[in-house]
Subunit: 86 residues, 2 copies
Amino acid sequence: MALSVDLIGYVAAGLTTASFFPQALKTLRTGDTRAISLGMYTLFTSGVALWFVYGYCVGDGPVMAANLITLLPAAVVLQRKLTQAR
Amino acid sequence: MALSVDLIGYVAAGLTTASFFPQALKTLRTGDTRAISLGMYTLFTSGVALWFVYGYCVGDGPVMAANLITLLPAAVVLQRKLTQAR
């Protein structure tokens, strides 16, 4: 039981962590950020960076790792959106 | 020290949880989902739903609450994207 519950958590973490990569790839490929919310990526990228700081402070490796991985595609989308918003 | 580290965690959680609302509002307002990745919202919405199931299984209220809140705007964006993808 505990093992299968752990598995649900790991699959959930994998899905939410992986999800930003298709968006970053699509944004890099098309260069189109019109429908992308600047507010979302500002809040989300800041939040993920803070999660990493939190993980560092409490010494939680998985929290640091998951958020460092997510930070990359989120920052790519934010950077493209900021470039186009000018 | 522990209090300020907790505060970092709560602010991080608030930012990442809140971030999907500006995107859902923008998507509902403009109806434009062209730059939105279907892959991202499929993976992310499934992941958030699984996080809720995980929180339920381990009896973690904050995990359930945060993911239930995020599920709403994520599902709205996914639904609009699916409608437009047809």
